[in-house]
């Protein structure tokens, strides 16, 4: 059982991190250059409503049955929510912060590191929390089809191998519990002092 949990978490971690590393910088850049955003918007709007599960056949075609296919599906599921979060986070930076940054004569690198990044972090954390939830949904579905291990596989296998509904329910409870823990983990980031300003009531 434990090795199934580890297998699922492993896939979620990699799929999510890969998506974050690519989608967040990309989203921030596109968000900053509004024209780029407008140019790419139709493409994004076409890809976004495609359920990550619709990618399962292609994932298996490209990566075969195994970890890579599952990681790819999670990557796809996380990519657009993260990119859109990053884009809107940039749009929502108050003009005052940008002007103060310009006024104090920051270089481009300093501006990104000392104004842009701290200004978007709170929203990125919220977006990441939601996206991690999506990743956790996707991994279970992906494991039912694309691999032979993990919690999703456990559930489908328990049913196929003789209707072991006790194992099915146990798998579901574990999934729920881990999802909760992941969310709590992300939420604890929101309490970091230099991020906390982004969550005030006003």
């Amino acid at each position: 059982m434990l090795k199934y949990v580890v297998a699922s978490l492993f896939r979620v971690t990699w799929g999510f991190l890969l998506a974050a590393v690519i989608a967040i910088p990309l989203g921030l850049t596109i968000g900053w250059y509004r024209r780029a955003g407008m140019a790419l918007s139709p493409l994004v709007q076409v890809f976004r409503p495609i359920s990550p599960l619709a990618w399962i056949p292609i994932a298996i075609l490209w990566f075969g049955v195994g970890d890579l296919a599952a990681i790819f599906l999670i990557f796809v599921g996380c990519f657009f929510p993260l990119m859109l979060t990053a884009m809107s986070a940039v749009h929502n930076i108050p003009a005052v912060y940008v002007n103060v940054g310009r006024n104090f004569g920051l270089s481009a690198a300093d501006f990104i590191y000392r104004v842009l990044y701290p200004a978007v972090v709170p929203q990125l954390i919220i977006g990441s929390r939601i996206t991690l939830g999506i990743a956790w949904l996707v991994v279970v579905a992906a494991e039912m089809i694309a691999v032979n291990s993990g919690l999703g596989f456990l559930i489908i296998d328990a049913r196929n191998a003789g209707n072991r509904y006790d194992l099915v329910i146990a798998g579901m409870i574990i999934i729920g519990t881990i999802g909760l823990l992941l969310d709590l983990g992300m939420r604890s980031l929101e309490r970091v002092k230099s991020f906390r300003w982004g969550y005030s009531e006003d």
């Binding site: 103060v100 006024n103 004569g105 300093d110 200004a119 972090v121 230099s194 300003w197």
Partner: protein
Amino acid sequence: MLAPVRDVKLRMERVGMAFERDGKSVSVLEDINLDVSDGEFICLVGPSGCGKSTMLNLMGGFLAPTQGSVTIDNQVVRGPDPRRILVFQERGVFPWLTVEGNIGFGLAKLSRAERRERIDHYVQMVRLQGFEHTFPSDLSGGMQQRLQVARALAVDPDILYLDEPFGALDSITRLLMRGELLRIWQSERRTIIFVTHDVDEAVQLADRVVVLSARPGKIQDVLTIGILHPRNISSASYLEHRDDLLKKIGLAYTA
């Protein structure tokens, strides 16, 4: 204390500003001519929407004029510059930095010891001792504005632009803040351009008050307030100046 007559620090020559809106050009400022001497305290007043803030943004280099030129020390202003800092009405301090972090924001190039010294100096000056490690969300509005002024002063600018800096504060805090600003101005002589719609604020603070007309804003009048600081706000000469200014703004509204 009146500022002694000094060299021209900032000069606006035939400055005009128009914005594009829905394909039409809307004129906001027209034919602005103004000389500001070094160390002078200027207040800009006028009806809302007359282009006061636009004028400040032109001086600060955040906008480029569509006509004429703004020069500082005989050099044309081409963009924002740390030698001239703009203080905003609201949300100007960075919420992710502590009081210390904010004051030190423009001091990255200094050595650690120098930075420490500057921060301490300006924490004292704006009376935020004991709040060095506090985040802005835990400060009052008045304290946040003092913090913004401290961050601006810490980089040792020649000119301070203040865009209705006390506009969002309650009237008592405002009164106190004016006193603080005067005290700071007298201890570290800088050129100050202060936008306000508050007549009392202008008469209490300024060496000269520049009155703008309704849009498109033109300089309608320049009033010299020849009263020594600290100004007694119930003295005859203060009230005279105040009435004078009110009359001029009244005209501005009906013009």
